[in-house]
């Protein structure tokens, strides 16, 4: 049982007034360490819902979710916060950076919550920004950066606590094609470095970078296939 993520008949139901809305009906899914998974599906199929459950941002209304063998359903808010802090790095479509903070401060944020002292925090945040190629933009605020640069800051923030899993919900959704490829190159590199990567996208050519593609429809898994021949972003960028 080496699955980091083990989801068994998990569902998420919202109650809106008298109506029940099934954001996710029933999903059973295992993800092993260092997998590179793309989750696809039409709008409203439950991709984000599944992603939020995996990332412990949300809890299922049915089924069981084992994260590294531990039942997430039994955890309290603080334990969930700790998992989000240590084990998971989030990358969002809208970047979700704090507008008043510099790149460095934004990247430091997860370390603040894990109690890392100031000087080490700065060093590690700088390191993470260097890693995503923004070592010279540490004092810029988000509105002084391009979309691609903002997403790199967000990725640096996701990396800074050295989590094993990176979750990205439409990370290229707000970026132009070329910048999107650059971001995908970054994910490919992280994957080679040993990270587990789960990526939500509705763009087939982005999903082609992943090594496994899961398709959702109406809150259920429609297909779950290995991508035998994933695209290589670095090679493509070099070719351009």
């Amino acid at each position: 049982m080496s699955a980091v993520i083990s989801i068994n008949e998990v569902g998420k139901r919202y109650i809106m007034g008298t109506q029940k809305v099934y954001a996710l009906r029933t999903v059973t899914l295992d993800i092993e360490e260092n997998e590179y998974v793309a989750i696809m599906g039409p709008s409203g199929s439950g991709k984000s819902t599944l992603m939020n459950l995996i990332g412990c941002l949300d809890t299922p209304t049915k089924g069981e979710y084992l994260f590294k063998g531990e039942s997430v359903g039994k955890m309290n808010d603080n334990q969930l916060a700790e998992i989000r802090n240590r084990e998971i790095g989030f990358v969002f479509q809208t970047f979700n950076l704090l507008p008043r903070y510099s790149s460095l401060k934004n990247v430091e944020l997860p370390l603040v919550y894990s109690g890392v002292p100031g000087s080490e925090r700065q060093r590690r945040a700088q390191e993470a920004l260097d890693h995503v190629g923004l070592g010279d933009r540490v004092h810029h605020k988000p509105n002084e950066l391009s979309g691609g640069q903002r997403q790199r800051v967000a990725i640096a923030r996701a990396l800074v606590t050295k989590p094993s899993i990176i979750l990205a919900d439409e990370p290229t959704g707000n970026l132009d094609t070329k910048t999107g490829y650059e971001i995908m190159a970054l994910f490919a590199e992280l994957h080679r470095g040993g990270n587990t990567i789960i990526l939500v996208t509705h763009e087939p050519d982005i999903a082609e970078y992943a090594h496994r593609i899961i398709r959702l429809r109406d809150g259920r898994i429609e297909s779950d296939e290995v991508n035998a021949n994933p695209r290589q972003p670095e090679a493509e960028l070099a070719a351009q």
Partner: protein, 411 residues
């Protein structure tokens, strides 16, 4: 610790983000603290000046002046009063000769004293006194002797120097027997007074005392601005009320106050001075406290409203913080600290303006030393912390309880 600093920093950053709103929030708190501090400062200045009067003499001493020793402005009610003359003072002494001692003093300011090439600043009180002045007010000399009854009787040109004056002119040397000059007149030094200390940073040893007869009759310090103050020693504390009655009766006779007319002089005891103001002080204190606390309460409710708006505005930020691992308690603390910081800045502003305002207001009414009500400054800080926590709690709790996903997708 580093976490707290980070919290404070982020709170300040958040306040800077909407300066106008932060300003008004801080302002409302400042008004409340200002009210508290200004009132208390005013009370303290009054307390100080009352204490100065009281502590300057023993509890058995009854003061006879033509004006109250602590009073609000030179109001019309005292305009027609005439100073007490040396003759009237002598008459009173005569009336009680053998039963009570009567100390006398009459003073002017701003004298310099010269001894050959050495001269003091023009900062000394120049006080004409009689012999009993020393014993009634418990003053004593360190060197030499005090002014005697004969010195007064014969209007001798002799002086007792305050310690500061003696130190400037003579240093370690013995001053007794030397001749000093004041306004180009020569005086023989007969004694140097023991130090009377430096309360409130102001030395009480800058004075020269000489026989009151010389002061009044030879130098001619009489008239409107020159009154003789008297200090009558009651035989015991129990007899004070009786003594006050006797003195009042005698003074009415001496100053020709007709039956049915009000006294044109004051007979004061420590107790009467305290009584005169205790009602006023406690009323002022109550009004200040009630107004201040009401203002702070209103400010607290304002803060709660603003914090609720802030939490709403920053819902996404809260979502982001939770997504990267902030615990509910951390978010709660973040907003509580923010509320408390707003309150503390307000408190600081209130204290910074309230102390000068209280002092200035009282200075226009009576002559007072500057006062700083330290306990109330600390108290205001504490009250503001409590207000920040109390009224920040609900908004902060709302922020802490937000579900991460909902917060992140809020717009």
């Amino acid at each position: 610790m580093s976490w707290l600093i980070e919290q404070i920093r982020s709170a300040l950053l958040a306040l800077k983000a909407s300066p106008l709103r932060s300003f008004f929030t801080v302002f409302t708190i400042a008004i409340g603290v200002f009210t508290l501090i200004a009132t208390k400062t005013a009370i303290q200045t009054l307390d100080n000046s009352i204490n100065n009067v009281i502590s300057s003499m023993g509890s058995q001493v009854i003061r006879v002046n033509y004006l109250p020793s602590v009073r609000f402005s030179d109001g019309d009610e005292y305009r027609n009063r005439k100073p007490i003359t040396l003759k009237q003072a002598n008459d009173l002494q005569e009336a009680f000769s053998g039963s009570m001692r009567v100390g006398m003093s009459s003073a002017t300011w701003g004298k310099s004293v010269q001894y050959y090439s050495r001269t003091t600043q023009r900062e000394n009180r120049f006080i004409g006194v009689n012999h009993d002045y020393f014993s009634v007010l418990n003053l004593d000399v360190g060197e030499g002797r005090v002014i005697s009854e004969e010195d007064v009787l014969f209007s001798r040109a002799v002086v007792v120097l305050g310690l500061d004056v003696a130190t400037v002119l003579f240093g370690e040397e013995n001053a007794v027997g030397k001749d000093v000059k004041i306004d180009n007149r020569s005086y023989r030094v007969i004694g140097v007074a023991k130090t009377r200390g430096t309360p409130m940073g102001q030395s009480l040893d800058k004075f020269v005392m000489l026989p009151i007869t010389y002061f009044v009759n030879v130098l001619g310090y009489t008239g409107r601005a020159r009154t003789v103050d008297m200090y009558v020693e009651s035989p015991s504390e129990e007899l004070i009320p009786l003594a006050v009655d006797e003195i009042t009766g005698a003074m009415r006779g001496i100053r020709n106050v007709q039956p049915g007319e009000d006294n044109d002089f004051e007979v004061e005891t420590n107790e009467s001075v305290i009584d005169q103001f205790s009602g006023f002080i406690s009323n002022l204190e109550m009004v200040g406290l009630v107004c201040g606390l009401m203002a702070l309460l209103a400010a607290g409710i304002g803060i709660m409203n603003i914090m609720l708006v802030i939490v709403r505005e920053r819902t996404r930020e809260i979502g982001v913080r939770k997504a990267v691992g902030a615990k509910n308690g951390t978010i709660l603390m973040q907003f509580l600290i923010e509320a408390v910081i707003v309150c503390q800045i307000g408190a600081l502003a209130g204290v910074a303006t309230g102390i000068p305002a209280g002092n200035l207001a009282m200075n226009m009414l009576i002559e007072v030393e500057t006062a700083i009500p330290v306990e109330w400054v600390v108290g205001s800080g504490l009250i503001c912390t409590v207000i920040g926590i109390t009224f920040g709690l609900w908004p902060a709790w709302k922020a802490a309880r937000l579900a991460p996903v909902e917060a992140l997708t809020f717009d």
